[in-house]
C-alpha cells in the first residue's frame, strides 16, 4: 500500500505533464489546467499520507523500482526512499505546486501557450520529486538536471521576446535569462559531478546508506574534496555568490514559475543536498564553516541590493537569495533540522509573496515598477492582506512562521560562538524587514500613482484567492509546529540543542532581533507610508548607484567572462572550424571529385592511348620490381 503511494506521489506529476503535452500545440483549454491541478493534488494527498505514516511509525519506506545501470562493479538502481527529510520536502513541494497550478489557471488565462505551460510546470514538479525522493546520488543528479532543464524551459517561456539593452532591462530578454540560468547551473554541475566521482571512486557505490556508512573510513583530504565539490554544485543551484546573478534575471519568467521554482523548490535543492549529505559535512568542519560564512555573506549581500530596487519581483527574488543564505548558514553551522524547518516555512510565505506579486502584475497589466504603483489596497484588498501576512512572516514578527525559524538560525549563530556571523545575520534581519515593508507600502499604500498611466486595476479571480489561502494560513501557523517538527525530523537528522548559556540569553537574543525587525518596519513606515517622495540627492549618491546596479557584478561578468568567451567562440567558429575543419573535409571531397573528373579524360576512345597507359603501368611495375630487388 505504501509503495503504491510512493509511486503515485512520484508519477502523478509526470502523468499531468504528459497529459498537458498532448495539447501543447492547441489553443488554450481550461480543462488542461484543471486536470493538471487535480493530478498534483493527488500527489499532495499521497505525500501527506506518507508524511503521516512516517510521523506515526517513525519508519522510512524504501522502494527500488528497477535497475538502471548495472555494468561491472557499477550498480545504480532507480530507488526511492521516503524518510523524514524527503517526506518534508515532498509535502512542501506538492503543496506549493498544487497552489501554483490552480493559480496559473487564472494567471495565464490570457496566454496562448497555456497548455504548454502546464506541461512544463508538471514536468518540473516531477523532476523535483525525483530529486528529493531518490535514494542515491545518481538519482539525485538526474532530478538535479531535470529541474535545471525545466527551469530553463519555464524562464524562457516567452522566448519570442527580443533582446534589449541592459539599461532597458537588466535581464535583456527571457531567452537570455534562461540561458544564463542554465549555463550557471551547468558550471556548478561540473563541481557536482566531480563530487559524485570522488564519492564513487572512494566508496564504490552511490547509495546514501552505503556512502554514509563508509565515510569514517575515508581520509580527511578525500572528505574535504568531496564536500567542496558537492557544495559547488549546491552553489549553482541555490544561487550563492558568485553564481547568483541568474536568480534575479529569472524573474523574466511568468510569476507562477517564480513562485514555484525560485522560492520554494529548485533553489532549495542545494540546501536539500547539504542536509541530505549531512554526515559528510559534519565530518568536514572547515568546509561547513565556509558554507556558513558564505551563506551569511549572501544574506547580507542580497538584502543590501533589495533596499533600493524598484522592480517588484526582483525585490522578492533578492529576499529569496537572502533567506537561502540564512538556510546555508544554519546548515553550515550544523543545525540541519533548523535549516530544513526554515526551508519549509520560507517556501510557504515566499510563494505567497510571489503569487501576490503576480496578482498585482496581472492587475497592472504586467507593470513591475513599484514607483508606478501605490494605493492599491483599495482595489485589491485580499492581495494586500496576503502580502502583508507574508511580509510579516518574512520579517520575523513574533508568532508568524518566520519568527520561529529565523530566530532559531540566529540563535544557532550565537550558540556556535561565531559572533561576527550572528551580528551580520541580525543586521540582515533588520534590512529584511525594511525592504519587505518598503515594497508593501509603496505598492499598496500612499498616493495612487498608477492613475497617471491610465491603468485600471482589479482584483484576481475568486478561486485563485481561495487557492492561495492555505499558504497564508501556513505562513501564520507553521511556526507553532516547531517543537513537534524537531521531534519528528531529528529521528534522522542529527540533533542540535542550544547550550545552557544560550538558553539563559534566549529571551535577550530574541529581543535584540525583534528590535531590529520592528525598527526596520518603523523606518519603512515613516518613509513610505504616505507615498513616494523621491530624493534626487540620495538617488545619485554613490552607494545608491552601486546597490541599484547590483554592485555592477552582472556588468563585470559580461565584460570579463561573456564577451571574451563570445569572441573566443567566434574565433573558433570562423577561423578554426570553418577555415580548417570544414575546409579539410570539403577539400577532401573536392579533391576526390576533381580527380574523378580529370580521370574521366583518360577515356579517349583511342586504342593507342589505352595501349600507352598499359605500357606505362607495366613499365612502372617493372621498375618497381627492379628497384625493390636491388635493395632487398
Amino acid at each position: 500500500m505504501m509503495e503504491n503511494l510512493v509511486y503515485i506521489a512520484l508519477f502523478a506529476p509526470f502523468a499531468s505533464s504528459m497529459f498537458a503535452a498532448l495539447f501543447g500545440m492547441s489553443p488554450r483549454q481550461t480543462f488542461v489546467g484543471i486536470v493538471a491541478s487535480l493530478l498534483l493534488f493527488t500527489s499532495f494527498l499521497a505525500s501527506a499520507t506518507l508524511a503521516f505514516y512516517v510521523a506515526t511509525t517513525g519508519m522510512g519506506i524504501h522502494v527500488t523500482m528497477m535497475d538502471w545501470i548495472s555494468a561491472g562493479n557499477l550498480h545504480i538502481p532507480f530507488g526511492f526512499v521516503v524518510d523524514q527529510v524527503s517526506v518534508t520536502m515532498m509535502t512542501v513541494v506538492t503543496l506549493v505546486s498544487t497552489v501554483v497550478h490552480i493559480y496559473s489557471i487564472g494567471y495565464m488565462d490570457h496566454d496562448k501557450s497555456f497548455n504548454r505551460f502546464f506541461s512544463y510546470l508538471s514536468a518540473f514538479v516531477f523532476s523535483m520529486m525525483i530529486l528529493v525522493m531518490s535514494d542515491n546520488f545518481a538519482g539525485l543528479f538526474i532530478g538535479w538536471e531535470g529541474v535545471g532543464v525545466c527551469s530553463w524551459l519555464l524562464i524562457g517561456f516567452w522566448y519570442h521576446k527580443k533582446d534589449v539593452s541592459r539599461e532597458e532591462n537588466p535581464s535583456i530578454s527571457p531567452s537570455w535569462a534562461a540561458n544564463e540560468a542554465f549555463i550557471m547551473n551547468r558550471i556548478a554541475d561540473l563541481g557536482m559531478l566531480v563530487g559524485l566521482f570522488i564519492v564513487y571512486w572512494n566508496v564504490g557505490s552511490l547509495q546514501y546508506d552505503v556512502v554514509f556508512a563508509e565515510l569514517p573510513n575515508l581520509s580527511g583530504s578525500v572528505l574535504n574534496a568531496a564536500a567542496i565539490a558537492l557544495f559547488i554544485g549546491a552553489m549553482g543551484k541555490s544561487a550563492q555568490f558568485p553564481l547568483h546573478t541568474w536568480l534575479t534575471d529569472a524573474m523574466e519568467g511568468p510569476t507562477p514559475v517564480s513562485a514555484l521554482i525560485h522560492a520554494a523548490t529548485m533553489v532549495t535543492a542545494g540546501v536539500f543536498l547539504v542536509i541530505r549529505a549531512n554526515p559528510l559535512f559534519s565530518m568536514t568542519p572547515e568546509v561547513s564553516y565556509f558554507i556558513a560564512a558564505l551563506g551569511t555573506f549572501v544574506a547580507f549581500f542580497a538584502a543590501s541590493m533589495a533596499l533600493v530596487n524598484r522592480d517588484l519581483k526582483r525585490i522578492i527574488a533578492f529576499s529569496t537569495l537572502s533567506q537561502l543564505g540564512y538556510m546555508f548558514a544554519a546548515a553550515g553551522l550544523g543545525a540541519y533540522w533548523i535549516a530544513l524547518f526554515h526551508l519549509a516555512a520560507h517556501a510557504f510565505f515566499k510563494a505567497l509573496l510571489f503569487l501576490g506579486a503576480g496578482n498585482v502584475m496581472h492587475a497592472m497589466h504586467d507593470e513591475l515598477d513599484i514607483f508606478k504603483m501605490g494605493g492599491l489596497k483599495k482595489a485589491m484588498k485580499w492581495t494586500y492582506i496576503y502580502m502583508g501576512v507574508a511580509s510579516l512572516a518574512l520579517a520575523g514578527i513574533p508568532f508568524f512562521a518566520g519568527f520561529f525559524s529565523k530566530d532559531a538560525i540566529i540563535e544557532t549563530a550565537f550558540n556556535e560562538g561565531t559572533i561576527v556571523l550572528w551580528a551580520i545575520l541580525v543586521i540582515t534581519a533588520g534590512m529584511t524587514a525594511f525592504y519587505s515593508f518598503r515594497q508593501v507600502f509603496l505598492t499598496f499604500e500612499g498616493d495612487e500613482r498608477y492613475k497617471a498611466f491610465g491603468i485600471h486595476p482589479h482584483e484576481m479571480y475568486k478561486y485563485v484567492l481561495i487557492a492561495m489561502s492555505p499558504l497564508a494560513i501556513l505562513a501564520v501557523i507553521a511556526g507553532f509546529f516547531q517543537g513537534s517538527y524537531e521531534h519528528f525530523v531529528t529521528k534522522l537528522l542529527p540533533e542540535y540543542h542550544m547550550s545552557e548559556h544560550t538558553h539563559h540569553l534566549a529571551l535577550l537574543l530574541g529581543l535584540v532581533v525583534l528590535i531590529f525587525a520592528v525598527g526596520g518596519i518603523v523606518l519603512a513606515y515613516k518613509k513610505y507610508y504616505k507615498g513616494l517622495k523621491r530624493d534626487e540627492q540620495v538617488e545619485n549618491s554613490f552607494i545608491y548607484k552601486v546597490l541599484a546596479n547590483q554592485y555592477y557584478i552582472p556588468k563585470f561578468y559580461e565584460m570579463v567572462i561573456t564577451k571574451p568567451y563570445a569572441m573566443l567562440s567566434e574565433i573558433f567558429w570562423k577561423d578554426i572550424d570553418m577555415k580548417i575543419v570544414d575546409a579539410t573535409v570539403d577539400g577532401i571531397a573536392k579533391f576526390l571529385y576533381k580527380s574523378g573528373d580529370s580521370s574521366r579524360k583518360m577515356q579517349t576512345g583511342n586504342l593507342s592511348n589505352y595501349l600507352n597507359w598499359m605500357a606505362v603501368g607495366s613499365v612502372l611495375l617493372l621498375v618497381v620490381a627492379v628497384i625493390s630487388a636491388m635493395f632487398v
Binding site: R600, T604, G605, L607, S608, N612, A615
Partner: protein, 100 residues
C-alpha cells in the same frame, strides 16, 4: 659461353622493340605486326629456359603460344576486314567513337 642471360637479354630487347612498335603505330595492321614481334620474343625466352634447365615445359608453352597466335591472327584479320568495310579507314584515330 653463351649463357641463359644472353638469350634472355636478347628476348628482352626484342620485347621492348615490340612494345615501342605497339605504342607507336596508328595503323591497325601495323599494330598487329608489332604484337607478333612481342609474341616471338617471349617464345625465344621460353625455348632458352627450356634448353638451359633441360625441361620440356618451355617448349610446350612455346607451341601453344604459336597455336594461339595463329588463331588470333585469323580472327583479328577478319575483324579488321569488317572494320574496313564499315569505316573505310584503318587509322586508330578515326575509330575513337567510344570516347567517354
Amino acid at each position: 659461353m653463351i649463357g641463359l642471360s644472353h638469350y634472355l637479354i636478347v628476348s628482352a630487347l626484342i620485347f621492348s622493340i615490340g612494345l615501342m612498335g605497339v605504342l607507336r603505330r596508328r595503323n591497325l595492321l601495323m599494330l598487329f605486326f608489332a604484337t607478333e614481334v612481342m609474341l616471338n620474343a617471349v617464345n625465344i625466352a621460353f625455348a632458352a629456359i627450356s634448353h638451359y634447365y633441360n625441361d620440356l615445359t618451355g617448349q610446350m608453352f612455346a607451341f601453344f603460344i604459336i597455336a594461339i597466335a595463329a588463331s588470333e591472327v585469323a580472327v583479328g584479320l577478319g575483324i579488321l576486314i569488317v572494320l574496313y568495310k564499315r569505316y573505310g579507314s584503318l587509322d586508330l584515330d578515326d575509330l575513337a567513337s567510344m570516347k567517354g
